[in-house]
Amino acid sequence: MWRFYQSVSAALRFHDYKPQPLGFLSARRWMMQFKKDDQEHAALLLENVIYLSERKTRRILVEQNEALMARLARAGIPSKNLIYVQVHDPGSSSPVMLNMLRDACSLERRGCRFMDSRDSYGITKLTSELKEGALIYVDDFVGTGNQFCEARDFAMKNVFVPTFSEFLLVPSICEEAIYKIAAKGIEAFSGHVHSKAERPLHDNSAILEPSAKARLREVCKGISPRMSLGYKDLATMVVLYRNAPNSVPAVLRGNLNQTPFAGIFPRASDLPLKKLG
């Protein structure tokens, strides 16, 4: 009976997960892949997923942005001196977040500027033109912070105007990244800081009994020996409506092409190719 409730609850909580529809049956199918003794642990793992639906993601971004804009306005920086920067490649989550924010907060009407972190020429030129202001990087999730710092360093490589402050606007960020980003002097405005204690399969978490943790880790290893706990063993539990980060444990993502183990939150790149035509 508890499996039934777990599956219903999962279907209700995660219904807008974009890469693959998530309903009662798929939740139940995911659960049934575990050995009977492990199903309870898997259910507990699922309960600890921090799911950011589209609505919640938008709400966090808007609230954080309003707080940031208000602070900058108090400091004397008008919205036309704010440069919103999308990080990473086109097609990744950052531009999607930025578009969402732009529309929800009417950033264009407020005169804000938009740039791509790869357009180092454009950023250099614009910062010189504006003379002072703020660079606001927008992303969906930051894990280790390595990828973000790399993109930011490229963007700022040629910016020599020292009168710009830098911020990161992100719905969720891992505690590891907070320190790394702060060391660069960038302040993160985030709705959620993902601590290690919140991640049941992480070494620093006591959510699961040690034996249960060991069992699930073994299953993860069986699915993906190299990425069993996700990128850099972060074992994060944040899943966004648009995609799961690559730092989630393998039991959530499943195998490539979803066989033999089908994940409950496969990343778009984990799914089999759809036939065209």
């Binding site: 002072e132 703020a134 060391a183």
Partner: protein, 347 residues
């Protein structure tokens, strides 16, 4: 402290102001543009040892950019880095707490003051790349309305040749400048390409009718295409074109032929620089003559045994001449930099 206003020269004075405070290293943001190589490891180790013994004695100069919680450094990046490292290593101050940094907090500098400050550190420590330097120089020229090389040299600390090179880059429209900051190294055009191509472009636009018809942007695009197709194997090869033209100036027939080859070079995407212009390059004799002249010059000067010349007037006029020789030699040496070998490292 450089709390400068863009309204000309009194703006460039350093005005000491602000308040002195002792801050934690975490309250301060490292500079974005201070490259790591700027810090000589042995010197940094010496400073670190000194700070570990005595603490930071000379206050940093910092400011708080609008809206930012942390302070940005105007002066004292090395002291800051030493303290960060010492704190990370668990070194404690005399009070048993992590080391703090004394700092003068000043008003945020204006954009132009900040930019000139950045120029000064980069000139004395590590040069910026050429394209960003050119863009920064452009900002300085626009903000201060200053284009005179001598004044720009004084303001930025750049050499005249660096300023000339930057100005050459800035002569190209933005769409071309952008190609030198392309994030993809495979498609990036080295800044030297523009500098070497500029005289060829000027020459072709001035003397070759069919190139003129392409328009300046069109002609530039042809050169970019050629470079990407590896028909210009080294940017130095542009010099062969100029050398061909200049060495045939006295011979009208040969000079007309060079111009026809320049036309072919621009209009036929398959033609290579060397294949078109090598025939006009003057033999190696003049280089050998120059080498001999250098050797004779030094030998003769040594023979004169001039080191202890006592007469003030004669000494001064000799110094003046030597300075002129040095300036010419330096400019020639600078102009000859680079390699004809396509595999040699590029700018």
């Amino acid at each position: 402290m450089p709390t400068l206003k863009p309204t000309q020269h009194e703006a460039l004075q350093v005005v000491p102001s602000g308040q002195l405070r002792r801050l934690n290293a975490e309250d301060i943001k490292p500079s974005t543009n201070n490259p790591r190589v700027l810090f000589d490891p042995p010197q940094l180790a010496e400073l670190k040892k000194n700070i570990a013994q005595h603490g930071v004695l000379v206050p940093l100069t910092i400011f708080q950019p609008k809206g930012q919680v942390k302070y940005s450094i105007l002066d004292g990046e090395r002291r800051y880095r030493c303290v960060v490292e010492l704190n990370q290593e668990g070194h404690l101050g005399p009070d048993g707490k992590p080391l703090k940094l004394p700092a003068n907090i000043v008003e945020p500098p204006t954009m132009i003051a900040g930019l000139l400050y950045m120029f000064s550190i980069h000139n004395f420590r590590e040069a910026w790349e050429l394209m960003p330097t050119a863009l920064s120089l452009k900002t300085v020229m626009q903000e201060l309305g200053e284009t005179d090389n001598a004044k720009l040299m004084k303001l930025t600390g750049l050499s005249e040749r660096q300023i000339e090179r930057c100005k050459s880059l800035l002569e190209f429209p933005e769409k071309f400048q952008k190609l030198s900051l392309d994030p993809d190294p495979k498609t990036r055009i080295p800044p030297n390409f523009w500098i070497e191509a500029l005289p060829v472009l000027d020459l072709a636009m001035d003397k070759v009718e069919n190139v003129k018809k392409l328009g300046r942007d069109g002609a530039t695009e042809k050169l970019v295409e050629k470079y990407r197709d590896r028909k210009i194997k080294s940017v130095i090869h542009f010099r062969r074109i100029m050398e061909s033209y200049e060495s045939t100036e006295e011979d009208k027939t040969a000079n007309a032929k060079v111009l026809r080859h320049i036309e072919r070079f621009f209009l036929n995407p398959k033609t290579e620089t060397r294949e078109l212009f090598d025939e006009f390059i003057v033999d190696k004799k003049r280089i050998q003559n120059a080498l001999n002249a250098c050797e004779t010059f030094i030998t003769q000067l040594k023979k004169f045994k001039l080191k202890y010349t006592a007469d003030d007037e004669e000494r001064e006029s000799l110094r003046k001449s030597l300075i002129e020789v040095r300036a010419y030699c330096e400019s020639l040496e600078e102009a000859l930099k680079g390699s004809d070998d396509p595999e040699a490292p590029k700018d």
